[in-house]
């Protein structure tokens, strides 16, 4: 009677549809997520280009674009509401549908079972379901552009009342509703993924894979899953209330006496600040959801290509735990000037600056890992090093913003835009690139072209700094974010050349990504065949074939004997000892 749990993934499904479309194989699902995120990223990147275009030459006439966007750019001139929709969707897509999906759902699904030595995720069906939940989410979100009134236009933060009152702005009609529904799909999917990650990592580790031997990537993804499970419900609650405010006349976020479009609204006694609290209770952990995987990837990649054990593994784990925990108590730093009590502002200043301590520790540990290394400059390594540089630059600007008083002139200016493009867009995006170059051989069984990859890095790295660093100056000079035309203000007009410079360099940045896309798709078909362990790395995925078969390992699962960072162990002939190598084998490999 009793069903003993078989490894229920032993046989690969045969039909094309079951195998590549409705697959429950974590690797296929991971790649599905990844490709979805990539295509969404292209859209979101194009939106950024349009934003930049308008910021350099506000309200300029572009007849050709007028044909492409007959509504938003009638007669070729961008409308303010279209501009607002552009950055709203750019932010939303990038944060949730590109840089949460690609590293967490994409690489997370692909890597977790491979790195902990499992045949699949704990709930393969739920896993497939989560992908098929997020895909409609993406489509609904994008369809927002075709809604009457245009796409959602209340910023990626969707602050009420702008997002709650339909008359407030054209995008607050159907577009905003689709935004909310798209987000709910996303949250549902992310929650399913999170349950799967947590369970898999706790329960499916192979023999010998103790928590103290997990690669830092897995640790990061584990923490991210927990953060997601605990933080997203706040946004779910907020989204439900927002939907009710919009469509059923409730007043959770809408106070009495609002006068919109020459009409007094009937709402009674809600408070707009409530939305901000709920949003940022999610929003801040969310930005670390974007950052932690990049931190994990960097740690592993830097160790591999430095041929050095990661410096202070326990502290690396603890600092991620600390960052994750603290990220729940800093949300108010987005609200210093929102009308929230100044006393709360003080508390949030303290917590915000405290969270910089574990971040600093991580940075120094990375540097210490590079000390006395034997660095190999491969494409993934270059991107990983780029992360360190961008993270420091972006993190340090966070210190200005975190100190409530210094935030007064800087809040809602381009200084903030610079901050988060460095640390979030920069470091996390580089994390995805680093991970792609690193694990591509495992995903597709082929190598990416390394010359193109390096060229991609040089261009992206330089263009990144020249695009986003000058934004600090704009912000200090007082340029507000989310404005369609900065030249309206006399004090901003002299800075317009900087905007032109940024735009030109953003175009270079955008163009550089074409190299990546080309390299990616070309390598999938034409790349050099990859060996099983092309980087001589230690983690378990490199003991599986490239690409791994259904069930990941042909024979029995590998048994783990050591932590993943045994690089350059003295007296051993190879400069790396994979996790699955037993002490006896090491003895045998000893020199002399």
């Amino acid at each position: 009677m009793a069903k003993v749990h078989e490894p229920h993934v032993a046989h690969a499904p045969q039909s094309f549809i079951r195998r590549y479309i409705f697959s429950t194989d974590h690797k296929v699902i991971g790649i599905q997520y990844y490709v979805t995120a990539m295509l969404t990223g292209v859209v979101a990147g194009i939106l950024a280009m349009l934003v930049r275009l308008n910021l350099a030459w506000p309200a300029h006439e572009w007849p050709l674009l007028g044909k492409l966007f007959p509504v938003g750019m009638e007669f070729g001139v961008m409308k303010p509401e279209f501009y607002i929709s552009l950055f709203t969707m750019h932010g939303t897509l990038m944060v949730f549908f590109v840089l949460s999906l690609a590293p967490v759902s994409g690489f997370g699904n692909f890597l977790i079972p491979l790195q902990i030595g499992a045949r699949d995720m704990a709930y393969p069906f739920l896993n497939a379901l989560s992908y098929w939940t997020v895909l409609p989410g993406v489509i609904i979100m994008l369809s927002s552009f075709f809604a009457e009134g245009g796409a959602a236009a209340a910023g990626w933060t969707s602050y009420a009342p702008l997002s709650a009152v339909q008359e407030a702005i054209p995008g607050s009609g159907m577009g905003q509703t689709l935004w909310i529904i798209g987000m709910v799909f996303f949250i549902a999917s992310f929650t399913m993924g999170g349950l799967n990650f947590v369970t898999t990592i706790i329960n499916l580790r192979t023999k010998g894979m103790s928590m103290r031997r997990l690669p830092l990537t897995v640790w990061a993804l584990f923490l991210v899953a927990i953060l997601g499970l605990l933080a997203f419900p706040a946004l779910t609650a907020a989204a439900v209330m927002l939907l009710f405010d919009r469509h059923f006349g409730t007043s959770f976020f809408l106070p009495a006496g609002m006068y919109v479009g020459d009409k007094l609204l009937a709402h009674q006694g809600g408070t707009p600040l409530l939305w901000q609290h709920l949003f940022w209770f999610l929003g801040h952990p969310e930005v670390y959801i974007l950052m932690l995987p990049a931190m994990g990837f960097t740690s592993d990649i830097i160790a591999t290509f430095s041929r050095r054990p990661i410096f202070s593994y326990p502290v690396m784990v603890l600092s991620m735990v600390a960052i994750g925990g603290l990220s729940f108590v800093v949300w108010g730093h987005h609200m210093f000037l929102s009308g929230m009590s100044p006393y709360l502002g003080m508390a949030f200043t303290v917590t915000t600056l405290v969270i910089a301590i574990p971040s600093a520790v991580k940075t120094f540990n990375w540097l210490a890992t590079l000390w006395r290394a034997k660095i190999e400059f491969t494409a993934p390594m270059l991107f990983a090093l780029g992360i360190v540089s961008l993270f420091v630059t972006g993190g340090l600007s966070g210190i200005f913003l975190g100190s409530a008083a210094a935030d007064i002139p800087l809040h809602d200016t381009y200084f903030v835009v610079a901050h988060f493009h460095f640390i979030m867009a920069g470091a996390s995006l580089f994390g995805v690139f680093a991970a792609t170059y690193y694990w591509f051989p495992k995903m597709f069984g082929r190598m990416m072209n390394s010359k193109l990859g390096k060229l991609h890095f040089w261009l992206t790295f330089v263009a990144y700094y020249s695009t986003f660093f000058p934004m600090h100056y704009l912000g200090i000079g007082g340029m507000m974010r989310r404005i369609y035309d900065p030249t309206v203000y006399q004090y901003l007009a002299p800075m317009q050349p900087v905007n032109v410079f940024i735009t030109l360099s953003a175009f270079v940045l955008g163009a550089a990504q074409l190299l990546f896309l080309f390299n990616f798709f070309w390598s999938v078909y034409k790349g050099k065949k990859a060996e099983q362990n092309p980087w001589n790395a230690n983690t378990l995925e490199w003991t599986a074939a490239s690409p791994p078969p259904h069930g990941n390992w042909e024979g029995p699962l590998p048994t783990v004997h050591r932590w993943p960072y045994d690089y350059s162990v003295p007296d051993v002939s190879d400069d790396y000892i994979p996790q699955s190598v037993s002490p006896a084998e090491v003895q045998a490999r000893k020199k002399g």
Binding site: A2, R119, G194, L195, K207, A238, F252, G270
Partner: protein, 214 residues
Amino acid sequence: MEVLTKEKAKLERGGVDFDKGSGGLGGEGGGSPEGALPIHTGEIGLWALLATITMLFAGFTSAYVVRRASSDWQPIAVPSLLWFNTALLLSSSVTLEVARSFLKRWRLEALKGWLVVTALLGMAFIAGQLLAWRQLAAQGVYLPTSPHSSFFFVLTGVHAVHLLGGVLALCYALVQAWRFHYTPVHHDPLALCATYWHFVDGLWIYLFLMLFVW
């Protein structure tokens, strides 16, 4: 009926050992997880889910606390039906435990009967909530009438959705019982289902207290 030894059962449930790695599904159940925590995969997933749901209602609670502090707060009266509904739901938890006790004594027929009763009580609760809504509407209290009524409708609605999920889970457990998938030691789906059910039950008590007593 197959008698399972304790060890075998433990193996079957998978196990975790934070230091030694796990002998779970990924580990093909291989190896004897010495000193392993006998936590089933489903159990971990369930507890994580409960944590998420808790956070969802924590979000609502914080909104409620903030809103309630305003001077224009006007509470609505407790719809009398709620007391009855609460009793229904509480008794459903009891009947579920009764059902499970029959499983231990290996009386499958009684098990199924009590499971059906539990599911019906759950459905009755949801129907009762709907009636309570109608009762309020009849008094002229609608969703947008006052902040308190908004919270009442939204929270009861969201709770009912979660309870509905519980009813579905019960149905699944029932089907499993029908198909003879349980043994006195192997009945995880039922145990998980019960945990969830009691949780949603407790959640209602919490909401009731928050909305009308506090």
